[in-house]
Point group: C2
Chain length 220, copies 2
């Protein structure tokens, strides 16, 4: 069966786009990435494909748009069989969906409060962020990955977001490894995978991007 044409409307620094790219790599799928210029005006294709949110990532599969990053990873997993990213049992899948939703509700927003924060607000933001990571460590338990003994769906969902963690550490003045050694070790292990290593941008480059955001917001 042909896999069909896969086009990703992308932005290099979007942790949500990174998820999709890692999922595509894990499935061994080739795709064309079209970089959106998010400050210079969005493409007509993006506006047409995602009229509700007008955001990357959008995956076009034979021209049909799939939007919202976790939803795209789900679609990729359902459409392109092996290796399976989600657990085989319905209960395991329900746990994966639960933690995906938790990550999507919490991590990026808490991180934004760090790079936007100052003084007491920053202290609270740092604490909130570490609390979230500690809950995620609880979810991983004594396993190597969120997917158990193998890298899976929830790992993909979180590892994209980790590309901004270096910036959070710098602007927050903390080290994730100190409070959450399990998450620190998990990030290192994930980065040894080819799909992750070739997708995540350089920490310093993301840091410079977030510094630019801070300047745009009048924080620096």
């Amino acid at each position: 069966m042909s896999k069909g044409e896969l086009v990703l409307l992308d932005c290099w620094v979007s942790p949500f786009s990174m998820r999709v790219k890692i999922a595509l790599e894990e499935k061994g799928l080739s795709y064309e990435a079209q970089e959106e210029d998010l400050f210079g005006g969005k493409s007509d294709l993006l506006l047409k494909s995602n009229p509700i949110y007008e955001k990357v990532p959008v995956l076009l599969h034979n021209g049909k748009p799939i939007v919202e990053s976790a939803n795209i990873v789900y679609y990729i997993d359902e459409t392109f069989g092996s290796p399976s990213l989600l657990p085989a049992c319905a209960y395991g899948r329900s746990r994966a969906r639960f933690w995906t939703d938790f990550i999507d509700k919490k991590v990026f927003e808490a991180g934004s409060s760090i790079w936007k924060g100052k003084g007491e607000e920053l202290e609270l933001a740092n604490k909130e962020f570490i609390d979230i990571l500690k809950k995620l460590e609880g979810a991983m338990g004594d396993k190597d990955y969120f997917g158990g003994d193998k890298f899976g769906f929830v790992d993909i969902i979180l590892i994209g977001l980790s590309s901004w963690f270096f910036a959070y550490e710098k602007f927050g003045g903390f080290k994730i490894e100190d409070d959450c050694p399990k998450i620190g070790g998990w990030i290192k292990k994930c980065k040894e995978r080819e799909s992750v290593a070739k997708t995540l941008p350089d920490n310093q480059k993301v840091f410079e991007f977030v510094r630019m955001l801070r300047k745009m917001h009048g924080i620096e």
Copy 2:
């Protein structure tokens, strides 16, 4: 195959619990509902089963907890085959997940802004709420249900929330039918289904509950 024991940690006025009950009814499953007293203290079983959010609904399937209402409906659909609530094709399922997520991000929060609002804030909240319903009308298109020609997953996700719409109309001073006749007609049609009719509480009773919330918040 035995369906196993199904226990629902419930609250009669929770639109999120209603989803789960409608999904269980659609599948023809019997279950035991345990009403939580949300003002008098949560049960140990609820706190143990949903330590992250401590909220209803929780479905216990043979003692194993599944939490977050859309996730529970998904689990029910995956676990208890026919009739299928989600579309058969992966693309259709991705659309159902997208609109489920949209509804969960928007509808209840916009409704809360109505019953909490006054003056100009209330005007804005009313407008936002109607805008959301109009987007949902766009998603339904010229079909009878969000699921196409049959009542399905997204219908279940939204119809539970509709139990609060009468209260929004009363406190907002508008009629949904005037601006969104398609949604108005869809609600009527859904209420003709046994699963929905036996689950949704009386509009007036929900209205009185929301009035009590307003008093608790010092609005009335």
